[in-house]
Symmetry: C2
Amino acid sequence: MAERLSLQELADELNVSTSTISRVMNDKPGVGEKTRNRVLKAIKKYNYVSNSSARSLKTSKTGNIALLSRKRKERLISADYFQRSIIYIERELRKRSYHTIAMSLDDEEMENSSDLLMLKEKRVDGFIIRGPAIKPKFILDLKNSGLPVVLFGNELKQTEIDCVVCQDRKGTYNITKHLIEHGHKKILFLSGPEGWYTTDERKAGYSDALKEAGLTSRIINMTDTTIDTGKTFFKEAIKNTHPEITAVVAVNDSTAIGVLDEARCLGIKVPEDIAVVGFDDITWASLSYPPLTTVHAFLEEMGKITISRLLDLLEDPNLHPAKHIITTSLVIRKSCGC
Amino acid sequence: MAERLSLQELADELNVSTSTISRVMNDKPGVGEKTRNRVLKAIKKYNYVSNSSARSLKTSKTGNIALLSRKRKERLISADYFQRSIIYIERELRKRSYHTIAMSLDDEEMENSSDLLMLKEKRVDGFIIRGPAIKPKFILDLKNSGLPVVLFGNELKQTEIDCVVCQDRKGTYNITKHLIEHGHKKILFLSGPEGWYTTDERKAGYSDALKEAGLTSRIINMTDTTIDTGKTFFKEAIKNTHPEITAVVAVNDSTAIGVLDEARCLGIKVPEDIAVVGFDDITWASLSYPPLTTVHAFLEEMGKITISRLLDLLEDPNLHPAKHIITTSLVIRKSCGC
DNA sequence: CTGTTAGCGCGTTCAT
DNA sequence: ATGAACGCGCTAACAG
């Protein structure tokens, strides 16, 4: 590939000033029709693209957005959730001429948010933070950097901050109600750690449904929401603390799939002996055995809103924080037994 | 957060010149012990970090690496493969002070590689291209940009270019041989589109094993290597073209899992009626029903080498291209029936 | 409508 | 050992 052309070189080539070309490049007024066309043609001919560092230096805009996730230690369970959201967000950002810098941070790295170079280096214009398992302090540190932040699938409880979530509470309420309507009375909720937004909301939705039906709540707070915690805590429940249950509402599909797997190990038939339902509708929900009844979250639409919001914030950082809640829908498959 | 400090401001604060601080920042000689310490302390105190755009402009290094993948249209099946590699690569790069710009390109976007702004904008220092389903022209275009390129899980057939792969051929040879040793004689290979590196290699491995045993090859080239193509092509084979088979070697786990799913739909028992094996050892291989016998690829180690190589290339772009082949290992579970 | 000029914040000569 | 001056490539303010 030929050497990159600088603005100056192109200007010399055309016998115009750099400002003229700059004006044309940025679609600004103040250039005659004839000159503009001449410049446009040359830009195409020489395949001229402005140097992003120089532009950033001048404009203080990088054209990069950081997409931050938490790295889990356990078996990767939400992989397709991760992939679908990251791919969608990246592509949507790219359509609008932004690049995506992806990072997976473990808990330790989030402790030292001051280490996050990007923040001080001015390498990005804004942050998308994905998932519930992020420490509030980390989020606030980022927010205090002055750059726009939008949360995806999470909300801060004390501080108002832009966020995009699905109907966690209502979705779980609906699916729990579905089980109740099919005659279940002893329903266990496998929840995640207290304090995670989605977990708390979904737990509340479960409780809403049970309370409405006058049934007794049975809740277990797991240490995480993975296949493995699903297996472990379900086994413990069925063998010791809650042998009487006829249905399990899992806080997410990964947990539910862990339950399915463990049930198989224990010789418990799903849905004949126990009904199992999840939340998220990850790809594997349709491939598990039996296929999982769950709540579908519209990740793509959540992503779309996240990005629109972030870009709005980029234009006007003083917008008042908003919370965006996207609908969910119930997906009936086999694991609920109806 | 306080306003960012510029080099000049920090210099004024300390009554030294910007050059002195720059020297300290970049660990260069020519600064007295006492001054150096004083500067070091101030850097810490004011939390000074140099502006990345300005630095890039001056040094022509961005500190960004592009990680490119192909976006598939079908159900996402290799999600955890994707996630594991991207997370690992990103974290490993970050350890070495690089940021990762991730992009998922569809076929159309790869056609117009000239559109890839990054390339001309000088937004990245190098490229990692992940997966086999990438058009050679796209790779060559990138390579011709003059920036270092390393392929991950792919190889160019005509042009020498740095690449990191696993033992695709030998791995498939081994697992096929395993089936043969357990008495299978009519073994079908579900392959991907011709021309994809991994697919072709694995097919060759299958053929090696069959030839060695004096058995007849049965190969189907699918249009892609997903759960859905696995389902479709397996069904077609079992019902029409190859009803006699007793075992299926799938080109990857996604395909194998599609076969498992379709077998269940058709009332065919695995492994009793038909043995099924895959390749990759994605997380779901251990969770499918029955758990999948497969070939484990060491993604993390592949990622590590990819990065080391890319960084070496960054230092010396004239290194001779090298191909790195990482070992695989056979993982025996239930689906092969032994 | 167009060109000249002055930085953006940094690294790197070249003097001292 | 230190500092002054220059320029990386671009945009924007000011002249003309």
